[in-house]
């Protein structure tokens, strides 16, 4: 059976294919096919494995494939026949290599952990397995999530299926590329300063960074624990919405998670207030962004606002120009602290002896500024700036429901091209603010500049993901 999901010819990564509707199957349609028996879980896995075998040599999105995937699919098929299958039954889910999946290689794309096999399941994996999702493999990424381009992996860079030769974005490069290239149904990534939304934008797929505290990080190998969140990738908003609904919720093993029952996502009230949605645009984002990219996004916002009779308001976010400068001291210090366990004793190798330049820069930088912190010049001031940015967003959400801007402020560079660390860090100028403010944000494909996909970022107030999904679906309809 040839699925429309897989209908592109092998290796034919034409950009039009990624933009126009018709190449997409909603995740619910796929689930329907599997549950009706039109497509078995086993055939679904075999189709993906065949495609990966043929095409992943040039994308390099997977580091490790699940050797038991067919046996697991057969067991799910039996559950489907018995009418006992869960919500993700038979779907292939790719997982970033910094999330523990029992028995699989969780290398963080590093030499440090290249021999490390996870002895337990992260909370999110446990939930996916409970709903009969199948982990197809572990994806490539920037080494220890240190990077915004997908280039810093010790297993060679990930390539961008949407525009070969250009960076796929990072750090969840392999997860975004695997979804983009149709190597899986859904994927998981982690987002500390944009590591889900950034590659989602470059690879022309949908990616969500949930509210801080909505998804358990138990079993995530952390980059910066005060900012990290695990989130989903899909080709469509409904796929992201589905996977998020499975992985969210309080976990006793992650003290930052909250009980969702106290944050009622009232779908009914969203429906009732649908006509009074107010979109926020900000010149403070516009100042940080390439003009052509910003104008494309602004035009799309005007189209959806006109269509739905929504109001557009201009808001001030006066401290977001400090986001990058606040983020990196926090990240350097917390990453330095997190890596002290990689001393080569209990597992892996000593990190400083086998890591690449970007990981070493963050370890050495984190060590230096930790020693110099007595004046509060780095971490303490960064925390203050984080607080100010958070306050800016809290004030903005008193006036508007959704804030929209481009996901990435500039066009991607070629893989292997020479740029400065500051230029690399500036890729995340639009995504970092959501991490600092602890709010949810989603990147949705919004168009092309030449051959380059452009993502639109939508942000809402904390725990208001349902509104994000509904508005993002309006953007999706413009395809």
């Amino acid at each position: 059976m040839i699925l429309s999901w897989l209908k592109r010819e092998n290796g034919n990564f034409k950009n039009e294919d990624f933009w126009h509707k018709g190449d997409y199957m909603s995740i619910h349609e796929k689930i329907k096919q599997i549950k009706s028996g039109e497509l078995t879980a086993e055939l679904n896995m075999r189709n993906f494995l065949e495609k990966i075998r043929k095409e992943d040599k040039k994308i390099n999105s997977f580091i490790y494939l699940n050797p038991n995937v067919i046996a697991e699919a057969k067991a799910i098929d039996k559950k489907i026949k018995d009418g006992k299958a869960g919500k993700l039954a038979g779907l292939a889910i790719a997982v970033k290599s910094n999330i523990n999946v029992s028995g699989m290689m969780v290398s963080c794309a590093s030499k440090t952990l290249e021999d490390y096999y996870a002895p337990f399941d992260a909370n999110v994996i446990k939930k996916i397995k409970e709903e009969d999702g199948i982990i197809i493999g572990m994806t490539n990424m920037d080494e220890f999530a240190c990077g915004s381009s997908g280039e810093t992996s010790a297993f060679k860079p990930t390539h961008n299926p949407a525009v070969l030769g250009k960076i796929p974005g990072g750090s969840s490069s392999g997860s975004a590329a695997a979804v983009s290239a149709d190597f899986c149904d859904l994927a998981l990534g982690s987002d500390t300063g944009g590591s889900i939304r950034n590659p989602a934008s470059h690879c022309n797929v949908v990616g969500l960074k949930p509210t801080y505290g909505s998804v358990s990080r138990y079993g995530l190998i952390d980059l910066s624990m005060s900012l990290d969140q695990i989130g989903p990738f899909s080709k469509t908003v409904d796929g992201v919405e589905l996977l998020y609904s499975i992985i969210k919720g309080k976990d006793e093993n992650d003290a930052t998670t909250k009980d969702f029952r106290s944050f009622k996502q009232n779908k009914e009230s969203i429906k009732q207030n649908w006509k009074s949605v107010t979109i926020g645009l900000s010149h403070d984002f516009e100042k940080l962004c390439n003009k052509e990219i910003y104008n494309l996004i602004k035009k799309k916002v005007e189209i959806i606002a006109n269509k739905n009779k929504w109001k557009i308001e201009h808001i001030q976010l006066e401290n977001i120009d400090l986001a990058v400068q606040a983020y990196y001291p926090l990240c350097y210090v917390e990453f330095f602290s997190a890596t002290r366990r990689f001393d080569g004793r209990k597992y892996g190798k000593r990190i400083e002896e086998v890591c690449g330049p970007e990981v070493l820069r963050r370890i050495l930088g984190g060590s230096e500024i930790s020693k110099a912190e007595y004046k509060g010049l780095y971490y303490r001031n960064a925390l203050k700036a984080k607080g100010l940015i958070k306050r800016d967003f809290e004030n903005a959400f008193k006036r508007v429901d959704i804030i929209i801007c481009p996901t990435i402020p500039k066009l991607p560079h070629d893989i292997g091209e020479s740029i400065t660390p500051e230029e690399m860090y500036s890729y995340d100028a639009m995504t970092i603010p959501a991490n600092l403010a602890e709010i949810p944000a989603i990147s949705v494909p919004a168009g092309m500049i030449g051959e380059i996909p452009i993502g639109m970022q939508l942000m809402s107030d904390k725990f208001n993901e349902d509104l994000l999904f509904n508005v993002a679906k309006e953007v999706e309809k413009l395809r």
């Binding site: 930052t256 606040a326 597992y347 330049p357 203050k384 984080k386 958070k390």
Partner: protein, 88 residues
């Protein structure tokens, strides 16, 4: 410079250290403008204890954990380096 992964030489290591400090100093300069403005930054917890679940112990955990250890002696991970290791 490109961002492709490679092992770092001693000379490059020194340069990276200096560069990291330079970047952090330039960021600190920008952050100095936040001045003494006080911002509340805290996590408020209403519960101070963790609820224990009745989850069963995974029997394979110990075996998999031991398999990851670079050096072990029967049922023990040899976690010390340097002096103690030399004595052995």
């Amino acid at each position: 410079m490109d961002f492709l992964w490679h092992l770092v030489s001693e000379e490059e290591r020194e340069n990276i250290k200096k560069e990291a400090k330079r970047i952090m100093d330039s960021f600190a300069k920008a952050l100095a403008k936040v001045g003494n403005e006080r911002v509340d930054e805290s996590i408020i917890r209403t519960e101070q204890t963790r609820k224990e679940t009745n989850a069963e112990c995974d029997e394979s955990f110990r075996k998999m954990f031991m398999n990851n250890a670079p050096e072990k002696d029967d049922d023990f991970i040899l976690a010390e380096k340097g002096k103690w290791k030399l004595q052995k």
